[in-house]
Point group: C2
Chain length 307, copies 2
């Protein structure tokens, strides 16, 4: 693998930044990786884990001389970070981010950046329910998709270089319009997360069903929802606040469809239910054929632990 | 492990029956296991896989001399099967089932059974998205919960014997009232399944988002829903038709809660969202502590396959 940037700076050192750091080192894709995180603890952990070569007490110091700066902070923190680093950005540097929404990030970041710096938003579609620097691992992006949403004035060479970088991290790369991106992720990620959070909240709040019952009997489907609903609260708060329109549109369609199925249940329309459930089975098949999930039963969960 | 029944008959030879057969053999819990399935193909497969020692062309023949008969067919088929086997049941035999709802099964089965036969409904809370005889495996019930819902007139010794049998299959056993059972599973299983089916249906039906986009970008949360929504359509049609009241009650609460969170998004109430998401994270922790799921990121899914 060829080195693509000399110095990469990661602002924010959680699951995604950690995974980028490990994957950069795996592929030898940068001369050095440096980082900044808000808390001294996180900085020390990242350095100890070794996915960065150096850490700095401020974001502004971390970006000095960096050829690529990746903002790996919650969407709500993007604007402040962009303002803080702007004066120290090297001319010709590329600034990118890994935010789960793109329109809001473009609005938060672009106005702060000086001329001569290339801003290329990206969104690697990968993650786990774990968060923090310990959660990162080099394989997170392998065969996953990284979306890039270049702006009208983005420099083509800077965009291609960043896309090469992401391919080097193991990802497939696809370009997308900013607005379309926000709709697509509302379907594949944001609405499913809100729905999972809601279902877990409902179960937890039932008075006639004890929490012990919910926990012990979760294997019948519910526990899959709890994994999603264990994702980082700060990140997800910011996602929903910053992708309002698309998320609310998808949730509106979801509710409409749910009501139709509820009516089928109430009326005893077995044929409608059977047809619907047969249809959705095919989607799963496509995902497995595309290599985007395992076909092992229950995701290949190991044998349950003894209590 | 001690033998608990001399002859066990499995009516229906899919995922659950297969797993029972394998687990019975693993534990040496029966002298012999015989089976019946509707299609000759399934019967031949079950015999070849070896989780039954013999198969029969009719359910009525399969139950002759059996000490335990377990109905492993979709809930909608229970009544016909009970009627078919009734004349051949051995006096003192126990009839059980593994249906996901209990009130409807009691109503479908109990009236057909002769005096002197013990009917003890059960519900092993375990499964995968796969179905058919190939889907079964001996470890399915290990450390999962099996609910028994004895009736008022159930013979205590027959109930205890069946519960010992389920413990021998690896399960934890808990007794529950029939009506309470149907509410608990509506929360932990039925509502989550309908919600997953709905979300997958919505994504598949979006005109402005291509199916390729949905499939490729599914790793961000959506693919977990597709696993649940790949479950057996016949079984799930019957579940919803037969647990209407409880499922519709939970879905009503779910919608109410979802609307409250949608309103928080619309109004930009970040604190409400953050608090909600923090709370649901704790439920996940309880499930892992109870040994009911793995803490490995993404359920310990292996590295993605190359396409």
């Amino acid at each position: 693998m060829t080195q693509i940037y000399n110095k990469v700076a990661l602002i924010g050192l959680g699951l995604i930044a950690g995974s980028i750091g490990y994957a950069v080192k795996r592929g030898g894709m940068a001369g050095s990786v440096v980082g900044y995180a808000r808390t001294p603890d996180t900085r020390a952990t990242a350095l100890e884990l070794g996915f960065v070569d150096a850490v700095f007490d401020t974001a502004a110091e971390a970006v000095v001389d960096a050829d690529l700066v990746i903002l790996c902070v919650p969407v709500g923190a993007m604007s402040d970070v962009a303002r803080a680093i702007a004066p120290n950005l090297k001319p010709g540097a590329t600034v990118s981010d890994v935010g789960s929404v793109k329109q809001a990030v473009v609005e938060a970041v672009a106005p702060h950046l000086p001329d001569g710096v290339h801003f290329v938003p990206t969104h690697p579609m990968a993650g786990t329910e774990h968060s923090g620097p310990h959660a990162g691992f080099a394989e997170l992006f392998d065969n996953r998709w990284c979306l890039t949403t270049p702006l009208d004035n983005s420099d083509p060479q800077a965009v291609e270089r960043l896309e090469d970088f992401w391919r080097g991290l193991g990802a497939n790369v696809e370009r997308m319009e900013v607005e379309h991106h926000d709709l697509v992720v509302a379907v594949t990620s944001h609405a499913p997360h809100l729905i999972a959070y809601t279902m877990v909240g409902v179960a937890d709040d039932m008075e006639r069903v004890s929490n012990t019952e919910v926990v012990n009997l979760s294997a019948a489907g519910f526990r899959d929802f709890t994994r999603i609903a264990a994702s980082d609260p700060t990140m997800w708060r910011d996602v929903f606040l910053n992708n309002k329109v698309a998320t609310l549109e998808i949730l509106g369609r979801f509710t409409e469809e749910l009501f139709a199925l509820q009516r089928a249940i109430r009326k005893g329309d077995g044929q409608k239910l059977f047809d619907y459930f047969t249809h959705t089975r095919a989607v799963r098949k496509s995902i497995i054929e595309a290599g985007q999930d395992t076909d092992a039963p229950d995701f290949g969960r190991g044998a349950p632990k003894e209590t």
